[in-house]
Subunit: 431 residues, 2 copies
Amino acid sequence: MSAGLKVGIAGLGTVGVGVVKLLREQAELLCLRCGREIEVVAVSARDHGRDRGIDLAGLRWHDDAAALAADADVDVVVELIGGEGGIAKAVAETAIAHGKHVVTANKALIARHGTSLALAAEAAGVTLQFEAAVAGGIPIVKALREGLSGNRISRVYGILNGTCNYILTAMQESGRDFADVLQEAQDLGYAEADPAFDIDGVDAAHKLAILTSLAYGCPVNFDAVHIEGIRHVSAIDIEFAAELGYRIKLLAIARPTEAGIEQRVHPCMVASTTPIARVDGVFNAVVAEGDFVDRTVYEGRGAGEGPTASAVVADLVDIARGIRVPAFAVPAAELAQLQAAPMERHVGPYYIRLSVLDQPGVIADIAAILRDEAISIESMLQHGRADPGEAVPVVLITHETREASMMQALDKIGALASVQEAPKLIRMEML
Amino acid sequence: MSAGLKVGIAGLGTVGVGVVKLLREQAELLCLRCGREIEVVAVSARDHGRDRGIDLAGLRWHDDAAALAADADVDVVVELIGGEGGIAKAVAETAIAHGKHVVTANKALIARHGTSLALAAEAAGVTLQFEAAVAGGIPIVKALREGLSGNRISRVYGILNGTCNYILTAMQESGRDFADVLQEAQDLGYAEADPAFDIDGVDAAHKLAILTSLAYGCPVNFDAVHIEGIRHVSAIDIEFAAELGYRIKLLAIARPTEAGIEQRVHPCMVASTTPIARVDGVFNAVVAEGDFVDRTVYEGRGAGEGPTASAVVADLVDIARGIRVPAFAVPAAELAQLQAAPMERHVGPYYIRLSVLDQPGVIADIAAILRDEAISIESMLQHGRADPGEAVPVVLITHETREASMMQALDKIGALASVQEAPKLIRMEML
């Protein structure tokens, strides 16, 4: 049997502890599957004394994560510190510089510095792996990098943030509004005390930038992602969506268009009969559409100790088995600089909700504005009647429309005296 | 750049032609992803003259597939002849004996001879790959062999036959009976002229035997699979299922039990809210549950030129990239001889439909038989009343029951004078 694979773990939070537990519990199985042992030999964390429920005896302790990354008796460094730069980046760079493989669960790091880290790793002859960075429980990085290799990907999209999906599902099921459900999610531990990173779409955007690079063989381009969160989704929109046969999900979508590669994270109306519409609660799902394979769907837990540890260990198993595939499926030096499509060039159908005074001529004014922007209406929905002078919600569904035209039309519509609130827009995605 | 990978294709049916097309259309992309070319250099089929819509000029033609398998200028043999033994087996064995890697889409071959072929391949230092053999469009072999490596699999199950799922979906949607929908499926090309292999569950069982070996690290044991098809599923059962909140699917299920590894293919009642219940038409899906990752779901097309070619090429890409993983995740010599659980030891809830005369005492007789076998009833459903002397359907749902007890009870119930037809049984699966 080959020598064991010596692992150093930087960061002993939930995931780090999970990785240690998994490697210990499944040691025999992993040895059989890899033909060699995978052994944690060194760890690093801020607080040496804290009880983490695992025995650290016999492991080398580094107070300094960078020192762990340079530890001569470590083959692979597992970076679980988090954050897009700082120590996490230094740890990855140091490990690579010392000829060690790097496994990370850090989506912010890969979304920001994935290309340069991949270049460095390839120059050093080591691998950079990050299955846990996108939808922990779903082996989607491997699917895109290997399983779907024979395909051009026409679209990749998914539900990549469990917190948002939990909130939207709870809103759907209970009819309650966003703030109320967010509070509950925080009480239950499904949302952070500071939830901005999740509910404003940044976390999903990090993951999308990584998937885009894997699917299209281009450098990671997080800055090109159009990002909207779910704060503006209201109970009434979810109700209208249901009436129209749709559900509202926070989707992260990448696809090649005539204007370039489109990357966007925003609430979406999706037909309730599609597989992604039925992914509820904290579950994640990714759909990858290929020219030969057609639609493939992957669903699982997106976070948590077990699923994330499972993904980290899958990467370690690959390394132990001697599997060497470029981080983004093609050599980092050959990633193609693809044009990023600006959001103004996006084309698709839109759901628009207006709050208008129930008086003659209002719809005519709105229709005229849409006509002037060459926006074609597929359907219009109005419920009930208001007393004279009171507002009533009106919902419009458009045919395929260019985002720039839609925005101009909404500016003009919002300026009408009879329109009482800023118009609400939710993009529709044909799946 | 490394030398190209030279591929010989044995069998130029739909899939063989698809593989040639894919390798040609995506040549540039594949070269980038593999760092070398993947080139078809030789082919073999029965009829040289037939127009297949692809240009065979420049390819070495072998009338004899075994000669192709021995072709000195071929690195990988792709076996697409089909059949569990005969030429297909000879081609795989010859290729391995000549030091060539083997890629196959042949589930019958792997279900029957997978272990011995894997042993031979490992002895020869070549790989045996069969992603296309199970649910073509879904990279589930790779997921089990690599992506979920860190887990003990507590259950793996799926919809593995598109023909059966198409028929059951159409029955569900139209209320029509089996024979009627089968005829339509045949007219549409979704079912073969001789559909036995699909609708009697054999095809799904081949695939299940392969998944079981991958999931549990045991030799492929096709003979241990309990197999039932869908011929006995009737419209009335689908209707009762819907009323109870269930759908009927042909599932293939493997799991470790106290009695050993259970492998079974049969119609199942599954709660309509579960992901697998919503997989409709010709789509396939696999659910793998791991102790760390929890539930993972994979969905895609199970067959067809494009999806199957995609899977074959994924295997070729692995080989071109130098990825070498044992065929069944652990070295073939170390596959563990696990006890196979006999079906009599199966334990689960059952759906039973009886056709009984609507007269006093019938239910008491049935209840007494169930009591004597220690079978506990969860619910009972009866619709309408028949005229005296006519039969009425009665549905029973049991709590967890042992298969052997259930069978004994059904024998006795079937022998009651008031029971008009052989009792119908559909197992329920808690997902």
